[in-house]
């Protein structure tokens, strides 16, 4: 949410009509922050403590090995942390039952039950669940949201499916909570609403849910809601507390969905905290209904708030350094055209890659009133030779192609006429054609990356997380061939094709790089040159043929060759050759560009993967700043983010 929309939302907030949720909290005071909880993505209360899920844990001081994905239990008052090491793939949701049994949703396709004391652990839902994204106890049973199945499943403690609801309505169900009457509230990230499943007369969950909310930035509207927690007020009804991720706030609604309040101003630059919120993913309220925990995986932290009946006063805007872009997820380049996604506006920025710094020329999509706006850009690519830009919009279920028209003989200038929509292809219709051709069962592709076969200009390659495959299709998606990834694949995120035909796929959840040397079989890499992958999110081939893997957990890139040697480049920080959750990589004429997502920028590395540029929109550094690795020491060491510190 931009500053202007934030101010407008605040004004609208002040004018909003009082709702039925009159007893619901209207504000919250920041109580404390627990930092360095890597990828803190789900949180729940357990008595006087909170439990938080992390996809992986920091290595102990001086140790080289990273521990497995895990849970940690933190007491609220004294901040004592107990690690609960658990055999998880990628924890995405957590809840504790009345008898103290912890249930953890694992994107790897199971729910893990940990009995009190931690000695007994049971994995349930194998073969039933696909990509669990949230979990809550429903009496002695469990409700599990599954973003892969687009449904919520009611399971008993053995994992037997008792009911499946929301099929056809839910698009990307995430966190959920169960009301005292047994009804269910689910946050749907792609549908931008909450779903309420009442309980029917026969005690089952209603098959047809009621939608609460819509997409937007105004009070009561959502932009990627990821979780909901309930506060029961007895006869006064209940309150819904929502993690509104892309609006960077927590919203409170009455049980009828009427807006009550929001709080948590958008952090204006990475690492800003103390009540400011940055991409909240999960919320939990304690049993007394007075303490709120907010998990922010983007910031590796959980913030605790004390709920109160008064609204928060308007927050002063301030900060020592405003950011100038929100580059995230994907990046692509072919020859002279570089494209990056701005995650806040869902705009695709076009830059001339021939220059240092790259010159911004145009943007596709973005905020505003024009017709072509993206909902959730999940992949971008530039078609070689034609410089056509491909954009996969997961939210609208479209794959779109844009012509780019500019005079390369003249200096690059900002010109919004450069990109022009050429065609838009419907992924549901493509799926229907594929099924008719014999590829059933097949889900509508969730395209996470796009590439082009250097030896066949008539084909586009779509990395598909829904079917865990690479789809080779003709350029108009009339037909395609499914090339499935190994069974261990969970959430393939980036695809790279080398000039010599090698193919590599990064899968951060499977913690693997899949590599193919022109043949049909895949090699599964769990390390490169002896350096294990923790969360490999990006992959590319260097000009010298080396493999480059960005590791979002290590805050570094691993550069090397399989079975030979490798080196780590980068460390956590906000200076040059420092990263905060690096993601996609692509080759440009002046080196490999790595999206430094947690710092909202990109960095470029030339020959030998040597750093040569840090860039965001309108702000670039081509000389390393003091304090950066390999540069002169910083005169103000506080500008570096130290590991292990609290936000």
């Amino acid at each position: 949410m931009t500053l202007i929309t934030q101010i407008l939302a605040t004004l609208l907030h002040a004018c909003a009509v009082p709702s039925a949720g009159g007893d619901c909290p209207k504000g919250a005071d920041h109580f404390q922050t627990r930092g360095d909880i890597r990828g803190a993505c789900a949180v729940t209360f357990d008595g006087d403590a909170f439990i938080v899920c992390s996809p992986e844990a920091l290595p102990p001081q001086g140790a080289a090995e990273w521990s497995a994905p895990q849970l940690s239990r933190w007491t609220v008052k004294d901040g004592i942390c107990n690690q609960i090491v658990a055999p998880l793939g990628f924890a995405s949701g957590v809840d504790v039952s009345g008898d103290g049994t912890i249930a953890v949703a694992d994107r790897a396709g199971v729910v893990l039950l940990i009995e009190p004391g931690g000695a007994t652990r049971t994995r349930i839902g194998i073969g039933v669940l696909e990509a669990p994204s949230g979990v809550a106890w429903h009496g002695s049973n469990l409700v599990v949201s599954d973003s892969g199945l687009g449904a919520v499943l009611l399971l008993d403690r053995t994992g037997r499916e008792l009911q499946r609801v929301g099929v056809g309505a839910l698009r990307d169900p995430q966190g959920l909570d169960v009301a005292a009457d047994g009804s269910l509230y689910v946050a749907d990230r792609l549908a931008n609403c909450l779903w309420h499943f009442p309980v029917t007369e026969n005690g089952r969950l209603a098959d047809t849910p009621r939608a609460i909310g819509e997409r937007g930035t105004n009070p009561g509207q959502f932009n990627c809601p990821c979780d909901v927690a309930l506060i029961e007020r007895g006869a006064a009804g209940r309150c819904l507390v929502v993690a509104d991720e892309m609006n960077h706030r927590v919203q409170v609604l009455g049980e009828d969905g009427a807006f009550v309040s929001f709080f948590g101003m958008h952090a204006l630059f990475p690492r800003q905290g103390d009540g400011r919120i940055h991409y909240p993913r999960s919320v939990a309220v304690d049993a007394a209904g007075t303490m709120l925990a907010v998990a922010e995986p983007f910031e590796d932290r959980v913030q605790l708030f004390t709920l109160k009946p008064e609204e928060n006063p308007p927050d002063a805007v301030g900060g020592y350094e405003f950011i100038t872009s929100h580059f995230g997820s994907d990046v692509a380049c072919a020859e002279d055209l570089l494209v990056l996604v701005d995650t806040e506006s869902q705009g695709v920025a076009l830059l001339d890659a021939r220059t240092t710094p790259p010159i911004h020329m145009a943007i596709i999509g973005g905020l505003g009133a024009m017709s072509l706006r993206f909902t959730e850009v999940s992949a971008i690519a530039v078609e070689p030779k034609t410089a056509r830009i491909w954009v996969a919009d997961r939210g609208r279920g479209k794959l779109e192609v844009f012509d780019t028209v500019w005079d390369r003989s003249k200096p690059p200038v900002l010109d919004m006429f450069i990109p022009r929509l050429a065609r838009s292809m419907d992924l549901a219709r493509f799926t229907a054609r594929m099924k008719a051709a014999g590829f059933a069962p097949l889900r509508v592709p969730a395209i996470t990356d796009i590439a082009f076969d250097p030896n066949d200009a008539s084909k586009v390659l779509l990395l598909d997380a829904a079917n865990r495959a690479i789809i080779a299709a003709d350029m108009r998606l009339q037909a395609g061939v499914l090339d499935r990834l190994p069974d261990s694949a969970r959430m393939p995120e980036e695809l790279a094709i080398a000039a010599d035909g090698r193919t590599a796929v990064a899968d951060p959840v499977a913690q693997r790089i899949y590599l193919r040397d022109g043949g049909a079989s895949w090699t599964e890499l769990e390390e490169l040159g002896g350096i294990p992958f923790v969360r490999p999110a990006g992959v590319a081939f260097g000009a010298d043929g080396s493999l480059v893997v960005s590791d979002a957990a290590r805050d570094a890139c691993i550069v090397g060759a399989p079975g030979v040697s490798a080196r780590l480049v980068g460390e956590r920080g906000e200076l040059d050759e420092q990263f905060f959750e690096p993601r996609a990589i692509c080759a440009t004429p002046k080196g490999l560009i790595v999206v430094d997502r947690g710092n909202h920028r990109f960095q470029r590395f030339g020959d030998g993967f040597a750093w040569n540029l840090t860039g965001s929109m309108g702000r670039y550094y081509d000389q390393k700043r003091k304090g950066s690795p390999g540069a002169a020491p910083a005169s103000t060491p506080q500008s570096r983010i130290e590991k292990g510190g609290e936000s």
């Binding site: 919004m416 006429f417 419907d426 219709r429 108009r476």
Partner: protein, 152 residues
């Protein structure tokens, strides 16, 4: 007797006229308009369609609603599917906005290989460079045809 003979003769005349009418080919209604020399022609982005537009009336009105006529055909000579969806829009990329009205597109039928359509409720509400677009979607693939319009 005379009256019966008269009725028989009359019915024969009527039936004969009916048969003559049934066997005669139905004349196609005339095209609603003939594309004029002012029509601006363009090919769609992938070359699947060729289309032209012109304003209804003599010229583009200045900041007033108007109707726009289109003639479009497939480059491969096939008829455009009856299920095809067509939409018309106009935007000002440098200003980051579109029109204040949403036009309605009506397909009128095909004449001499050209599908004729009219977009009612167009409004280019300020001077500058506009991009006019005609989108045609067949079987899940939408393809765009675009023109620049400079409004003085």
């Amino acid at each position: 007797m005379i009256a019966r003979a008269f009725l028989l003769a009359l019915s024969l005349v009527v039936c004969s006229a009916c048969g003559d009418e049934a066997s005669r080919p139905v004349a196609a209604p005339p095209a609603p308009w003939q594309t004029s020399a002012k029509a601006v022609l363009a090919n769609s982005a992938d070359g699947t369609y060729a289309a032209s537009w012109e304003p209804e009336g003599t010229a583009l009105p200045d900041a007033e609603p108007f109707n726009m006529r289109f003639a479009v055909r497939r480059a491969d000579g096939r008829a455009i599917s009856a299920a095809a969806r067509m939409s018309v829009d106009a935007e000002m990329p440098h200003h980051g906005h579109g029109m204040n009205l949403v036009p309605t597109v009506t397909r009128l039928g095909a004449w001499n290989g050209d599908e004729l359509l009219v977009a009612s409720g167009m409004l280019l509400h300020m001077p500058g460079r506009w991009v006019l677009s005609l989108d045609i979607e067949e079987d899940g693939v939408l393809e765009r045809t675009q023109w620049f319009i400079d409004v003085e």
